[in-house]
Amino acid sequence: MSLLLLSWEFFQIGLFAVGGGLATLPFLDKLVDKYDWFTAADLANIVAVSESTPGPLGINMATYTGFTGSGVLGGLVASLSIILPSWVIILLVARILKKFNENRYVQAAFEGLRATVVGLIAAAVLGIMQLSFFIPEVAGFWNQINYKALILFVALVLVRFKFQKIHPIALIGAGALLGVVCGGF
């Protein structure tokens, strides 16, 4: 496939997918029908790998799809193309904000926004917690609770509260290690 076409497609995804990595999924789905760069089965694997590797989900998916279609260069082109629009837009927004930082309307709007973002992040975590702490396949509410995961969660939260200096990366490493040792949560 032509790298130019690949770049153009991912540039468009970067421009139109609003709201984080998973928002790019419907766009990637369309690419399956439009070109023969990768199949629907490839895409399922791409999402699975992207979710279980570090880094922004959208970048992982772009790199993987580009790489599947046309190798190292394809991976590079796809991920750089997907970030280009938001890079330009954020630079513009940053310049505008710098100029209007003292503006009382802007300040008032952001006071409301900061409180709102705390709520939005809390909602996002609630979704992940549901996924981690509930096993929907079994019957009965009390059986559905994943006690092992819940205990690990409480332990890690307590450690983080007790030792505020501890780096979040250390906790994530501990989680990975315990996951392997305990055979999953």
Binding site: T63, F153, R160, A176
Partner: protein
């Protein structure tokens, strides 16, 4: 030049150790950017998240562009943004070349189930700290809870929640001309 490298490396660290969406990055960003480097504040980070939520593109990239630009201008934003994506590009290409069925290995699945719980724990504490630092008035509590409910229990796109909150914020918190000076 050293500062540009510092930007690149710090954001590479953030990109290389974040599992999950942009929110999962928050605790690591707080640690690296607010506590260790003092490049930004918690309040500014929240502002960036708000903007990142309603501008196109990947939120992690948006936030790193913001911080890089604020610190060292356009060139700084290039270094920070490339930093946050570089680990992904390398890791994904390695996996795509050698471990096509990476996500099906039981060790990977087990590790990831632990990572997911750890991410919940770190973000939970991050939200707790933000709640203590940034939610100062009853009206903040109101904004926060409304946003939480709209996002958790409806299908409403977060862009609308952010735009709604910005508008409501303007009416709620607008200071009189002389007061703000």
């Amino acid at each position: 030049m050293k500062e540009y490298f510092d930007l690149f490396l710090t954001f590479a660290k953030i990109g290389g150790f974040t599992f999950g969406g942009g929110y999962a990055m928050l605790p690591i960003m707080q640690k690296e950017l607010v506590e260790k480097k003092d490049w930004t504040t918690n309040e500014e980070l929240l502002n960036y998240y708000a903007v990142g939520q309603c501008t196109p593109g990947i939120i992690a990239v948006n936030v790193s562009t913001f911080v890089g630009y604020q610190k060292k201008g356009i060139l700084g934003s290039i270094f920070s943004t490339l930093g946050v994506v570089t680990p992904s590009i390398i890791i994904i290409m390695l996996i795509a070349s050698f471990l096509q069925n990476f996500s099906q290995y039981s060790a990977v699945q087990h590790a990831f189930s632990g990572i997911r719980v750890a991410v919940c724990a770190t973000v939970f504490v991050a939200i707790w700290n933000l709640w203590k630092k940034s939610i100062k008035k009853w009206s903040h509590v109101f904004f926060c809870i409304i946003a939480f409910c709209l996002s958790a229990f409806t299908e409403l796109n977060p862009i609308w929640i952010v735009l709604l909150a910005g508008t409501a914020g303007m009416f709620t918190y607008l200071k009189k001309e002389d007061e703000s000076k």
